[in-house]
Symmetry: C2
Subunit: 259 residues, 2 copies
Amino acid sequence: MIMVKKKPLILITNDDGITSKGISELIKMARQFGDVVVVAPDGPRSAQSNALTVDAPLYFEKLPDDNTGSELYKCSGTPTDCVKLALNQVFDRKPDLLLAGINHGSNAAVSVIYSGTMGAVFEGCINRIPAIGLSICDHRQDADFSMAIPYFSAIVRKFMEHPLEGICLNVNAPIGEIKGVKVCRQTKGYWAKEFEPQISPNGNKYFWLTGYFVNLEPNDSQTDEWALANGFISVVPTHVDMTAYNVLNDLTTQGYEEI
Amino acid sequence: MIMVKKKPLILITNDDGITSKGISELIKMARQFGDVVVVAPDGPRSAQSNALTVDAPLYFEKLPDDNTGSELYKCSGTPTDCVKLALNQVFDRKPDLLLAGINHGSNAAVSVIYSGTMGAVFEGCINRIPAIGLSICDHRQDADFSMAIPYFSAIVRKFMEHPLEGICLNVNAPIGEIKGVKVCRQTKGYWAKEFEPQISPNGNKYFWLTGYFVNLEPNDSQTDEWALANGFISVVPTHVDMTAYNVLNDLTTQGYEEI
C-alpha cells in the first residue's frame, strides 16, 4: 500500500488586515511549506491583544481566488476571532501550523501583551497548534521584508521539524542588515508619556495613545530588545500560562489559605 | 516631628462598565483601605484582553460626586486604556494599589488571556503597581457578592501587607457557600464549539461567540478550576512575562542560533 502523506495545512492571519503587505509576503513565503488558508481581519486590528467580539455578531466571507492557490477569507472580528472562526467554521481538520504576521512593527518586550498578532498566536497555542508570530521593527505600510524573509523561512522550517507542546514563538526582525538569530527572553519594560491631548472643533478634549518604550534592562544580552538593537532576529519561546510559579510557595507561607 | 502617613491611593477599574453592580461593591469594599479613584469604561468591555485604542481618540470625563467620597471618571476606551489614562492624566502620584472587578463571571483558567479585567490588572503590573483582579463565577447583572466580599477584603489586606514585585493576583470566587481560599496555578484547557450561526433578516449568515470550556486536568487539585469546583476561592499569582523559560535551552540546542 502506498501511503500518501498529506501536505501540511497552514492557517495564516494577522492584525494589520488582509490587504497589508506583510500578510501578502507571509502567504508567498508559507506556500513552500504546505497548503495555505488565510482568515484575516477585513481591516486593521492592531493592539487588539486577545480581544474577542462578544457583544456583536461576526461575519466572514470567502474572497475570490487570487491566483496564488490559497484560500482567502476576510472576517469582521479581531485576530483571535479569526483563529476561532477558522478552527470552528473553515477547517475540517486541525491545521498543522499557524503563522501570524508579518506584522508591520515590533512585538518584542511587553508589546507581546498588547499585540493582536501575538493574540492570534496564543489562540493557536491554546488549541495546541504550533504557532509563530512574525514581525519586523518597521511600521511603514511599504516596509521592506526582503532581508528578514530568508531567516523567517528557516525559523518556520525548524519549528515544523521540532514543534514543542504548548509553546509558540514570538519572532521579531530588526530593520536593515541582519547578523543572525538569537534565542531570547522577553525584555522587562513599560511604555511612558503615553497620551497626546488634542481639542476637537467643538471644544472637547480628547487623547491619542502615543509614548515611548522604557527598557529596564538595556544591557542584558539575553533579552529580545538587546537582540533587535544589535542587529539580530529575536526568537522568544512563549506560552499562555500566566502563573508565576516562583511565588506559589510564598503566597502559601504568607497565609492566604488560612483566610 | 510628627510624620503623617498618607492614606493609600487606590485605582479601581473593571470591564463590565462603571454602572455595574460589581464595581459598585468593589468601591464600597476598597474604601476601608484608602482613597479610591475610579476610572472605568463607560459601558461593557468584556473580553477585551489588553486591547488598546490606537485608531480612535479617547475621551474621559469626571462624573458628579456620588456622595461616597470617591472620585469617579468614565472613559470611552478599554480597561487597559482606563489604566493608562488614569496613570498618565488623572493621578499626580503612582497609586499604591490597583483593583479590577468585581467581574461578573469567572476569569479562571485560560479566561485570564481574554479578560478585560485581567488586562487592566496586567497593565498595573507592567507599571509596577500591586494589582488584583477580583471575579465571581456568576454572570448575572444582579449577582450576589455578599459571601465573597469578606474573603476578597482579607486577600486585598494580605497583598497590601506582602506586595510581591512584578506579581499580580487573579482571584475568583465560586457561587454559593465558600469553604476557604486556595493558592493555585492556571488550569490547562480551551474553549470548544464556539459559534452559533444565525441568519439576519436580509439573509446574511453571521455568528455569535459561545461554546464551553474543556478542562484538560479536571482532577488536579493544584488548579484554579478545581478550587472553584470544590467551593474554594482561587488565588493565582500571575505575571506579564510570557517567556517559556523551560525551553530556552531546547531552542538553542535545536540550532536556531546557527540559522
